[in-house]
Symmetry: C2
Subunit: 418 residues, 2 copies
């Protein structure tokens, strides 16, 4: 079998498995998940042995310290996977929910029912824990899953997937409900995302390069998790103390994540008083600050910002400050230069709050709060497979519900169309 | 400007227009739509003149009679477009709806609000009325639209689009909210569907060839409206009189549409009595019947069905009949050979009804009713931009709600993440 045939066969097996998955009760799925958690717990040693093979190969290949850290499987990280599974067991199963129901004049009853999506491909990079974290969300929602992790983590991923498969099997996990692509050939990704009619959705989890590669070749729906170039606008009506706290939190609390703020806009009416305070606060936190011309006229030693800065996700202790003439300019700037992920306004004027939240075209728009709350757990979704920067199917934090679709069941008594 | 630059500029204009569109009140949008309807009414003569150019060119190019009929714009069809607009005015605007709202323990209020998608590209074939029918649904839902119709209808499409633009403009339609691609270069389609970040959704409306071409090149979400290989299964518990009526209706009432039935499965327990009645009924309607070996053992002069028949959408007075050993085989056959569009069971046994509707993986699954009801109007959606055979974002009949997405607005009082 060549790669194409191999991947087709894998997808066909997943389709068969997805039919069985869709019929599992919530109770059955939870029993399967519990058994998966137990099996991971039992196999700690063999998981770490498999991981050691990847770590040795990674070191030999000269992977960076950051890459090696992502690759490493420790007892703490295995605990994390196990806890993740148990947390998902406790969540409500969205499958089977009657989303809506109505009666037509001819007596037909139309019921919109939530059902699993079918076959989901998860394409990810070097963190082996994604193998468990993503699969269990797919399993809980009655989907079959095909996993394609980074080649540097292949031994670890296979060991984790095997534990999940073996643990689940005893409790009734359908054959092939969870499959892992065994080859490291990059062509396998292209094959996977071109299987329309077999694979229903691809979720790439990783850097921009991976996401672009998937999108370019895909013939199936892809839900993307692009970068977060998040903005906070400080309105002239802002409580400036609140603004300082929110900006500091959004920049400093965890700068390396997608919902950290990258740039601040300041209304010119308050810029002269506010920007010096802002600079003082953030310099205490060792944030490297860039400013536009107007900001630099107020604080002379800001690094001059280039045009490219306003589209940049630093993921670091760096931030841009720009003075805007009014709210409307702020909104326009954010819609043009932001990444439609998470943006905030600090203001007391209700009109400003209303216009900003209505007109900023982002997945999550905050009034007087830190952008750092864009997160499944912080939203109360219980679990999250990612934060979608797409507009279709899912936008913002994606929980269990976003791993489902719907169908219409129509109950008749012999109706025909006149 | 080359084609790429031209299409980029068009998409950029659409993005700007989409921001303005998203802020229009329902009342304003309705005023715009009314004015569009009036303008079409006023321009009947010029619309028919433009259409005559297309018709002449079409005849000269040797288009088939069916193609020419699709292309033709009559007063009746202009009436249809006008009525279509007025019907959409009367519909509820889904934009702004608070889909859900919850309070977090830290006091953050999370509101999931329905918003327009943004920029929608409609790619269609020779029917000029699609120009009006699709645009007005996009306008009603606050989206900007880019239209790309068939080259054979270019004069008609331009005339219709111009009427809509001019009519709308006076009442506040934002500039470039409705644009039509002026070139007949097929490359324009490829350009359109690769504008990720600018065009948010492509909806191809037309035959399989068009849809495949769009899907293959797309880097943006596409909602497809593929074929309907619809099945009806006659269970051993069926009211056979009801089954005959439903099958006759689903096959004969309008055979050329996607929700017409193409194949019937019959449980072997009732095949011997039922199939002769079925054949008699359908032959009265001049339906050409194919049968599998078992069906032909009961009625000898059925045309032998080939394997390919079971995957075929005839769109014609043709139908396949197949005997199945049980309900489970019927479900498996439909999931494998159907097109996941509309499938029905006729049965009285509640278990059979339940298993069929739960296990058949189609957009619409009927219990004791004709498949012909899969339609926006029949569902009570008021209007329909198509019937999605995709699973993501929209499945089944797509009304106004399916032309929207959502965003999260989060109201805080200074919350920061600990």
């Amino acid at each position: 079998m060549n790669l194409h045939e191999e991947m087709m066969a894998m997808a066909d097996r997943a389709v068969v498995a997805s039919r069985a998955m869709a019929q599992l009760s919530c109770r059955r799925k939870n029993t399967i998940l519990e058994a998966m958690a137990d099996e991971l717990d039992k196999r700690r040693d063999s998981l770490k042995e498999a991981n050691a093979l990847d770590m040795d190969a990674g070191k030999a290949a000269g992977l960076s310290a950051a890459m090696l850290d992502r690759l490493l499987l420790t007892d703490g990280r295995i605990d994390g996977m196990i806890k993740g599974i148990r947390d998902v067991v406790a969540l409500k199963d969205p499958v089977g929910e009657k989303i809506s129901k109505w009666l037509r004049p001819n007596g037909l009853e139309i019921i919109k029912v939530r059902v699993p999506i079918g076959v989901i491909a998860i394409i990810y990079e070097s963190r082996p824990n994604v193998t468990a974290d993503s699969s269990i969300l797919c399993i809980k929602t009655g989907n079959a899953v095909i996993l394609r992790g980074g080649k540097e983590a292949l031994h670890s991923n296979k060991a984790i997937a095997e534990a999940l498969q073996e643990g689940g099997k005893e409790k009734g996990l359908p054959d092939n409900a969870l499959q892992i692509v065994g080859t490291t050939d990059r062509e396998a990704i292209r094959e996977l995302v071109q299987m329309d009619g077999r694979v229903d959705l691809a979720i790439p989890r990783g850097g921009e390069g991976l996401i672009r590669a998937v999108t370019e070749h895909a013939r199936i729906p892809v839900i993307k998790h692009y970068k977060g170039v998040c903005y906070i606008h400080v309105d002239k009506s802002a409580d400036t103390q609140m603004a300082l706290q929110i900006i500091e939190n959004a920049k400093v609390q965890r700068p390396g994540v997608c919902n950290a703020v990258e740039h601040v806009l300041v209304d010119e009416a308050i810029a002269k008083n506010f920007i010096p305070d802002l600079v003082k606060t953030l310099r205490k936190d060792s944030v490297e600050l860039r400013g536009d011309e107007s900001a630099r006229a107020i604080v002379g030693d800001l690094i001059p910002a280039t045009d490219a800065d306003w589209d940049t996700e630093y993921l670091d202790l760096k931030m841009g400050i720009k003075v805007v003439p009014d709210l409307h300019s702020a909104i326009e700037h954010i819609n043009k230069h932001g990444s439609h992920h998470s943006d905030a306004i600090v203001a007391t004027d209700p009109t400003a709050l209303k216009e900003f939240t209505e007109q900023v075209d982002s997945a999550t728009v905050y009034a007087n709060a830190s952008t750092r709350f864009t997160d499944g757990a912080e939203f109360g979704l219980g679990a999250e497979i990612g934060i979608s920067t797409d507009k279709l199917h899912a936008r913002g934090p994606m929980g269990l519900e976003e791993l489902t679709t719907y169908k219409y069941v129509i109950q008749g008594t012999g109706q025909i169309r006149p």
